[in-house]
């Protein structure tokens, strides 16, 4: 069977759900952040495959911008995690409940 758009989309959907599962179940801030990256990558894969099978380069341009913004987002997020760790000495979300009553 010829590899078509559906195959790539199924891989992308499974990868997205893996990222979601990691985000919901893991409690380490850094691993949760990596799961977020996994979800972003899944979206990139879907965009590139749409771009390929619709004969349209705009999808690849969008992926290029997504990668750039993701790099900026990672740097800011990790700086926030480091600042938080300096204040609280933990990177575990269940210890970070200062907004809870």
């Amino acid at each position: 069977m010829q590899i078509g758009l559906e195959h790539y989309l199924v891989v992308s959907a499974l990868l997205f759900c893996l990222g979601l599962l990691g985000l919901v179940t893991r409690r380490n801030l850094l691993v949760m952040y990596m799961s977020l990256e996994l979800m972003l990558n899944a979206a990139n894969l879907a965009l590139v495959s749409f771009s390929r099978f619709n004969n349209n380069l705009n999808g690849q341009i969008l992926v290029f911008f997504i990668i750039t913004v993701a790099a900026a987002e990672v740097s800011v997020g990790l700086a926030l995690i480091v600042a938080l760790y300096r204040k609280r000495q933990t990177a575990h979300v269940e210890d970070l409940t200062s907004m809870k009553l």
Partner: protein, 170 residues
Amino acid sequence: MPALPDILFYVFAFLTLLCGVLVVANPFSRNAVTSAMFLVLTIISMAGLFVLLHAFFLAAVQILVYAGAVMVLFLFVIMLLDLKVEERRKIKLFSLVAALVSVGAIVTIFVKSILSASPGVNAPPPVLEGETAALGKLLFTQYLLPFEVVSVLLLVAMVGVILLSKKDLK
């Protein structure tokens, strides 16, 4: 006998998903460094999928930016924080079951909708080559303004990170 790109698709897709599973749920180690290493493998095999989709430039960018810069940043922060091995906390059974049920429902919805819509059936065979020259031309003509805005965004992120990592954060 299937063609070589088809075999390569299955190899890369399997590797991507396997390493993705090992990022989020590694049965042998709960160390964050292990997760980061498997995320690097996921990204590299996804770059292989990009090559199969004829997006050569994006494959190179994926490896350079993600596997290079972003993951080095991750590893740097993990080692800077010096996390102890995440002690076994009892995972609440209710939250685990709720997560599995909701993610399983989303998987089912995704796969069913993709298979029932079958968006690629009537499409003509792809002729587009994700040529770097065409991509660059598009980037510097039609998408010139977003390109410049993204460079400003990178500058803003850099200033923000420097401010956030100052010793006395006000």
